[in-house]
């Protein structure tokens, strides 16, 4: 069963990035190798505008399941944009042992 809307079948192979919360997305980022994230970014980033346009056909508070999954995927894209666009590594450079946890967040 595909998670994403049919128009986004090209992103289906990244379905394991469909994660509703930031702690899940951040943990997956830390557990991923750069080539994996690069591939996800290179495929998903060009579809970001289309994904937004697709989700914006519905009220944000009442997204159909597939649109919600697409939005969660794009939230993961936002999270990996840092390693890919600037850091060239999963962790924030110069952050050593520091941990900052997101403990309350609005979940779509």
């Amino acid at each position: 069963m595909p998670l994403l809307p049919a128009e986004f079948a090209d992103l289906e192979r990244f379905a394991d990035w469909v994660l509703p919360t930031e702690p899940q997305r951040y943990a997956k980022r830390l557990a991923s190798a750069m080539p994996q994230m690069q591939e996800f970014y290179d495929t998903a980033f060009p579809r970001l505008e289309d994904a937004i346009a697709y989700c914006d056909k519905f009220p944000l508070t009442d997204l159909p399941e597939d649109a919600r999954a697409l939005l969660h995927l794009m939230q993961s894209l936002v999270n990996v944009s840092f390693p890919v666009e600037v850091w060239k590594q999963a962790r924030v450079p110069d952050s050593g042992a520091a941990m900052v946890h997101l403990i309350r967040e609005p979940v779509v």
Binding site: E22, L60, V100
Partner: protein, 423 residues
């Protein structure tokens, strides 16, 4: 040469002559004796913000706060009369912690009609009266009037809930004074989309305030967050604020605010270009009343290039307003002389579209990337301060808020010690 006008005295620091300009002694951040006195002299005597009213949407809503700095756990609850109250989280029967879930040291929140102790089921109203005692007849002339929850002074300002353990402290509004109350009227209540962060930091609480109360470090520590050309330019120019203002014990810095939206889109990362958002928040100001004009206390120099104001509400709260229309708070809760819990809350208006939502997501993700870099420096600072190889440090004019913070902390501790010695 300075880019922005400084006061007639020649510098921001000399504009406040009581601060002095000599190097500052940082023993206050490593000395366990100072820390113990600081808890008594500062944290147990000062108004402390412990959250916002949005966390208490209805009668019976409550949350708990674990506050080692003041040596207690508190229950904050909204009564049936709509009043927000604070109580020590201790049962009057035999001292069990009254409100907690599985782990006594973890904070909790929820909604209830009354608080029931897990131990022997004494029950307390939302207003703190004991209204049920299990097998009351087994006690000896128990006067229930005398066994209500121990309350703590609690006042709300602009939706921010403050508590104070000191019965003799002046009222909250008076304590905040004109510097802080100058932001009244900001539409805080509209910003109900909240991201909350927590970090355990291996440094004295004041060192993290230091890190956030000067932007002198920004072009250097966070260099890699900007694109290369921009980073080089920023490092060359350095950093200067638009304006500083002190009103002891509080202070503020007003700053120009960078790129929202940037003059040249090549200055920002690809994802920022698409989502129109970044560290400075979503670039497009939300459509709500109260942001234009802003309250007089915000952007006090009325500068066109204004981007952000940061108010340091003594002792441990920072309140920041970003030009594009959102705000955030930081809190620094000491747990030991060389440890504290850092909390940050990002407040946005509820997004209407997926585009808005992803813009906020990017701002939140970016905040965390910066905070990780800021946090990591602190442990390194703490360990070296603790060596006492060097204890005095030259602070520059862009570090005036640090000079002020350490001076206020030392003055309060001195006052407390002098009073104790005189007794």
């Amino acid at each position: 040469m300075s880019h922005f006008t400084k006061p007639a005295a020649g510098s921001w620091t000399e504009h406040y002559p009581e601060l002095g300009t000599e190097p500052v002694d940082y023993t206050d951040s490593i000395d366990p004796g100072f820390y113990e006195d600081e808890r008594n002299a500062i944290f147990k005597k000062t108004w402390l913000n412990i959250g916002r009213v949005e966390r208490l949407p209805r009668a019976g809503s409550y949350f708990t706060r674990e506050l080692p700095a003041i040596g207690t756990s508190l229950i904050i609850a909204k009564g049936t009369d709509g009043v927000v109250r604070a109580f020590h989280n201790i049962c009057r029967h035999r001292g069990n912690k009254l409100v907690w879930d599985d782990f006594p040291n973890e904070e909790t929140s929820g909604t209830c009609r009354q608080f029931t102790c897990k131990y022997h089921a004494w029950r307390y109203s939302l207003e703190g009266e004991v209204n049920f005692v299990q097998q009351e007849k087994e006690f000896f002339d128990l006067d229930k009037q005398l066994y209500g929850l121990k309350s703590v002074r609690c006042e709300v300002w602009e939706g921010f809930i403050f508590v104070n353990l000191d019965e003799d402290a002046p009222p909250l509004a008076e304590y905040l004074g004109p510097l802080v109350t100058g932001v009244e009227g900001y539409p805080f209540h509209e910003f109900t989309e909240v991201y909350s962060y927590r970090a355990e930091i291996g440094s004295n609480w004041k060192l993290f305030i230091d890190a956030f109360a000067e932007f002198y470090h920004a072009p250097i520590l966070h260099m890699k967050q900007a694109v290369k050309d921009e980073a080089d330019k920023l490092a060359g120019v350095g950093y200067e604020a638009l304006h500083y203002q002190l009103q002891s014990p509080h202070s503020m810095i007003s700053s120009w605010g960078g790129m929202a939206p940037p003059k040249d889109l090549n200055m920002v990362k690809p994802i920022e270009r698409v989502l129109r958002s970044g560290l400075f928040g979503p670039w497009d100001r939300p459509d709500i009343a109260g942001l234009d004009p802003l309250p007089a206390g915000i952007n006090p120099s009325r500068h066109r290039a204004w981007g952000v104001d940061e108010f340091e509400i003594f002792p441990n709260m920072s309140l920041l307003f970003w030009a594009p229309g959102w705000y955030l708070t930081y809190h620094y809760w000491p747990t030991a002389v060389d440890k504290h819990v850092f909390e940050a809350n990002l407040y946005f208006v509820p997004p209407k579209t997926a585009r808005d939502r992803l813009g906020q997501e990017l701002a939140a993700v970016t905040f965390k990337e910066y905070a990780l870099q800021d946090a990591n420096t602190l442990e390194a600072t703490q360990t070296m301060l603790a060596t006492r190889i060097v204890s005095e440090f030259p602070l520059n004019d862009q570090e005036i808020l640090l000079r002020h913070l350490h001076k206020v902390a030392k003055d309060k501790v001195k006052e407390y010690r002098d009073a104790a010695a005189a007794r």
